[in-house]
């Protein structure tokens, strides 16, 4: 059976009794000819009380509503139909109701007066829900407006749905102007940053929040500001559409403090290194006038000062309150040694292999000087006959300890020449620095296969990314 077959076999009265809207048929005098079951149920009345009654007199004149009179007496006579006429009224029997009324004039063949069909839909609950929703929206907006950090809600296509007052203030636009615009269209399009756009596009589909995206810009009336952008997906219960909450955290003051601290650190570092340059220069003057036997010791002293100087570059570069990245430090020491000691031994290569560990500045100086002494010894003594040589500076974590390895593929300890006085002093320094760092030193490697010095140190280095030392 098709829909057409069903339609042909049912009477109009069946349809009238089935539809959820309340239906009324009025004659030309606005007396009620008939009503359907939905009308009687909605307005708690009966066919006996209703049929033949003037609509205004129905239910002790509770239908004598000015808006309904306007519709029936002023609008309908001039129009064939009216749709969506909203009537709000306090009914004594059912309370305050909001109704949407559709009206249509119906004419039968030969009947010039015709009837009026009123379809009345009770939209009270929908309207109440809408009012509640508006109240909630206003409350939410008030809370949003009270938040100091600017924030916006974006549609899935990255257009602005709403913005806080703080946001509107910094961008100098109204809520109406903001609505529907893209973040990339704000200001002079200076927020059209590919990296930001790329991140924002990932928030919704991949549910990947943006924790912090720094952007610096000039704002009218505010001047130059730095904002940290945070974004995350927001989902409304029962609603499958998703939106994006974008919060602008003003970090201008914090950034300025960081920059001031960095400037100060750089300035101090600059002064210290200039002073160290003076010290190195004083030694250089001594070298010019001293005996040849004293020169190696003085040059070794310059190298030690150079190793300390490298620290200041790394401290100023550090983001963790002065802690030093070990691999970077070893690389700097290797570079310094390569430049100062290998001029006549250019075939020696110094390699660095270090885990990502950090060291606090108090221990960095003896640590750096220790590496400097060991590597200097290797450069001076491991390759007396020239040729290609390799020196490895390595640091790795072994359980609760750190192992510093300085190895070479030179002639090995047994065949090395007897240490001259400065080198002997260098070995003394090694012992002192190892004691200072609470470490233990071992030498290894079979004869003729180079030298490997291993120094076990307590875990005085901090794994990169931790905030506290694991052990003192």
């Amino acid at each position: 059976m098709t829909v057409s077959d069903i339609a042909a076999n049912i009477a109009a009265s069946d349809i009238v009794e089935t539809v959820p809207s309340a239906l009324l048929i009025l004659d030309r005098n606005l007396n009620i000819s008939s009503a359907n079951r939905a009308f009687y149920q909605t307005f708690r009345t009966s066919p006996e009380e209703t049929e033949g009654c003037l609509i205004y007199n129905l239910g002790n004149r509770q239908w004598d509503i000015p808006a309904l009179r306007t519709l029936l007496e002023s609008v309908i006579p001039h129009r064939a139909s009216v749709e969506g006429f909203e009537v709000e009224h306090d009914f004594p029997t059912i309370g305050r109701r909001t109704m949407l009324v559709n009206a249509r004039k119906i004419f039968r063949p030969g009947d010039h007066d015709g009837f009026i069909l009123l379809a009345i839909e009770d939209v009270s609950e929908e309207r109440a829900a809408r009012k509640e929703s508006n109240r909630n929206w206003q409350l939410t907006q008030s809370i949003v407006d009270s938040i100091r950090d600017p924030l916006v809600v974006l549609e899935h296509d990255m257009t602005l749905v709403t913005a806080s007052k703080a946001f509107l203030t910094i961008f100098g636009i109204t809520q109406a102007e903001a609505h529907g615009r893209r973040v990339s269209e704000l200001g002079q399009h200076q927020w059209d940053v590919p990296a930001l756009r790329h991140l924002l596009e990932k928030v919704l589909p991949e549910n990947k929040p943006i924790e912090s995206f720094e952007i610096e810009d000039d704002f009218p009336g505010l001047g130059r500001r730095v904002f940290n952008l945070n974004a995350r997906k927001v989902t409304q219960p029962g609603n499958h559409s998703h939106r994006l909450l974008l919060v602008f955290e003003d970090i201008t003051d914090r950034k300025q403090r960081e920059r001031d601290a960095l400037t100060l650190t750089n300035e101090i570092s600059h002064r210290i290194k200039n002073n160290l340059q003076v010290v190195v220069g004083l030694i250089a003057y001594e070298i010019k006038s001293t005996s040849a036997a004293s020169v190696p010791g003085l040059k070794a002293m310059q190298a030690r000062i150079g190793a300390i100087a490298q620290l200041y570059d790394l401290i100023s570069h550090s983001s963790r309150g002065g802690s030093i990245a070990v691999d970077a430090y070893l690389n700097e020491i290797a570079k310094q040694l390569s430049a100062s000691l290998i001029a006549d031994k250019s075939s020696i290569e110094i390699r660095v292999k270090a885990e990502p560990l950090e060291i606090d500045p108090d221990r960095a100086v003896p640590f750096g000087l220790l590496v400097n002494e060991l590597a200097t010894n290797a450069i001076k003594h491991a390759f007396p006959n020239g040729g290609v040589g390799h020196i490895l500076l390595g640091v790795e974590r072994v359980g609760d300890e750190i192992e510093l390895v300085v190895s070479d593929d030179g002639i090995g300890m047994k065949d090395k020449a007897v240490l001259a006085v400065p080198e002997k002093r260098g070995s003394d320094y090694v012992a002192i620095f190892v004691r200072q760092l609470d470490g233990t030193l071992t030498r290894s490697a079979p004869e003729g296969q180079g030298t490997t010095i291993r120094i076990r140190l307590p875990l005085l280095l901090i794994p990169a990314g931790d905030t506290e030392p694991l052990a003192a």
Partner: protein
């Protein structure tokens, strides 16, 4: 032997550099700031190389300004920068193309090697 213009605002460090460079048989001109350096560079004096500190008290990147103007005046001039500041990418971007760098503190051996390489290229 070469004529080298040494620009350094610290008197001790400048005189040390001059003394070492002279020990290696070169001649030196000296300046402590941008105007003095430009006076030498605008003169008819033959100059082979410029050895300049980047940070000159009155001007944070005074050495870079000197080098830029020096190369305009003397395109063949060789340039060696030095500084006690860390060599960041931002600072490196201020260096003229094809120039050399020696970080402070430098020893006489390191300065000697840098000057040798500067004049050899």
């Amino acid at each position: 032997m070469a004529m080298i213009l040494v620009v350094e605002d610290d008197v001790f460090i400048r005189e040390l550099a001059e003394s070492l460079i002279q020990d290696w048989g070169h001649q030196v001109l000296s300046a402590c700031d941008v105007p003095q350096a430009l006076t030498h560079l605008k003169s008819s004096q033959h100059i082979d190389a410029l050895f300049t500190d980047v940070y000159l008290k009155a001007e944070i990147h005074g050495g870079c300004d000197i080098a830029r103007q020096a190369i305009l005046l003397r395109p063949e001039l060789r340039v060696l920068y030095t500084t006690a500041n860390r060599l960041t990418d931002k600072l490196h971007a201020l260096f003229a193309a094809g120039t050399h760098f020696l970080p402070k503190p430098y020893t006489e051996d390191q300065l000697g090697l840098s000057v040798h390489n500067l004049l050899a290229n």
